[in-house]
Amino acid sequence: MTTALKEWPLWEVFVRSKQGLEHKHCGSLHAADAAQALDMARDVYTRRQEGVSIWVVPSAQITASNPDEKGELFDPAADKIYRHPTFYEIPDEVGHM
């Protein structure tokens, strides 16, 4: 039996569940090319009308942030509470603002 080194490349699948909403990552699959990846994504991820549009992206093309740098990247936002509307006290009589 020969199975080695003939794998189809990996694709990430993004599905828009309904017009007006964003495409959301829903999983991955192997396919020989983009057209086949779209066909397979339809069969694998939208068997129950989960989508109205599909994007496929070669997994190798995605650049991800490094989990080790999570602190440096995201922690600085934690002490900037003045970026949130609830930081500001407004008199009640002003009503909704």
Partner: protein, 337 residues
């Protein structure tokens, strides 16, 4: 969707990696433990102990194999379904199982194994899959009973896996569980219809229940006292509920369903225990279970041979698709040049 709620060791491949923890590893291990203790999630790029990774690869790939092999016993009945409606339902269910296998293979691949490696494990007989598929589907009633009991048992087991500590596995299980309840309900409903039929049809349902009941109880895995790996799985947040607790839940849920259906569950010791507020049930034949897990069930050879043949017969399709993709690519490059 199907899984054995425990993780049977695959046959040894002769490779053991000696572990020599360094100081850096100890710090990483501590960070990992803290996250697990806080019921946090682990994602593919995060550091994880090698044993956690290996356990997950084994469990998720066994789970994926079970989905794929699980297509075979029911697939046998597609051409013999009693009506066009039942045929369409069965095709949809079998297609779902294929999809579930794909979600799970993808989840396992995030841990650094490849699809080819996993398929090689399955096809060579080294990797395990759920023992339940090594029993034959003798009549149409078996298809209904597989939906009701086998999928029912699988659902019990899979719902807690939606909270598994490994993100991609948990997300795959959420997707699977959403699709799963159709599987159980279609099976139960098919049996309800048969039970309004002739005496012969009713007897067929009872016979199928008699043959599958004990095997479904065994699907939850050995008693807690005999599953040494369970504690580690619990510690890692991979397993959330013990084998015996899941089994008990399944028995308690199934008894009233059997009553509505009008069948008897084949266990003289099955009765309500007022004190425990649960049903007591009889002894499971673990010898038979292990015989089947270890390759000596009635259909082990046939299932594996069918699976390998299907894969080999599809080789030319995979080759052709790759050749086509390459040709398109080089044509596009020529046009661009």
């Amino acid at each position: 969707m199907y899984t054995q709620s425990f993780n049977v060791p695959d046959a040894p491949d002769g490779k053991t990696v000696p572990l020599a923890p360094s100081k850096e590893d100890a710090a990483l291990q501590a960070a990992f433990d803290t996250r697990i203790d806080a019921d946090g999630r682990i994602e593919p790029q995060d550091w994880m102990p090698e044993a956690y990774r290996k356990t997950l690869v084994r469990q998720i790939s066994q789970h994926a194999h079970s989905e794929i092999v699980g297509m075979l016993p029911e697939g046998n009945w597609i051409s013999r379904a009693p009506s066009l409606k039942r045929k369409a339902i069965l095709i949809a269910k079998v297609q779902d199982e294929g999809g579930h296998g794909l979600y799970l293979y993808s989840a396992a691949e995030t841990l650094g194994t490849s699809r080819d490696q996993m398929l090689e494990g399955l096809h060579s007989g080294r990797a395990k899959y759920s023992s339940i598929f090594n029993y034959p589907t003798l009549t149409w009633a078996d298809v209904g009973v597989i939906g009701w009991l086998v999928d029912g048992a699988a659902i019990m087991n899979q719902i807690p896996l939606c909270r598994c500590s490994y993100g991609p596995y948990a997300r795959a299980m959420v997707r699977v569980c959403k699709e799963e309840s159709f599987h159980q309900r279609q099976g139960y409903e098919a049996l309800l219809v048969m039970m309004t039929g002739t005496e012969e049809q009713k007897a067929m349902v009872q016979d199928a229940v008699d043959r599958w009941w004990w095997k479904c109880l065994a699907m939850f895995g050995p008693p807690d006292a005999d599953s040494p790996n369970s504690a580690q799985g619990m510690r890692w947040g991979i397993k959330r509920v013990s084998n015996d607790d899941l089994r008990q839940k399944f028995v308690d849920a199934t008894v009233p369903q059997a009553k509505v259906l009008g069948v008897t569950l084949p266990d003289p010791d099955l009765k309500w225990n007022e004190e425990r507020q649960h049903h007591d049930y009889g002894r499971i034949d673990w010898n038979e279970f292990w015989e089947t897990v270890n390759g000596n069930g009635p259909c082990n050879k046939e299932r594996l041979a069918t699976r390998v043949k299907a894969h080999n017969d599809g080789q030319w399709v995979r080759d052709a698709a790759l050749a086509h993709a390459r040709k398109q690519q080089s044509r596009n490059m020529k046009e661009a040049a």
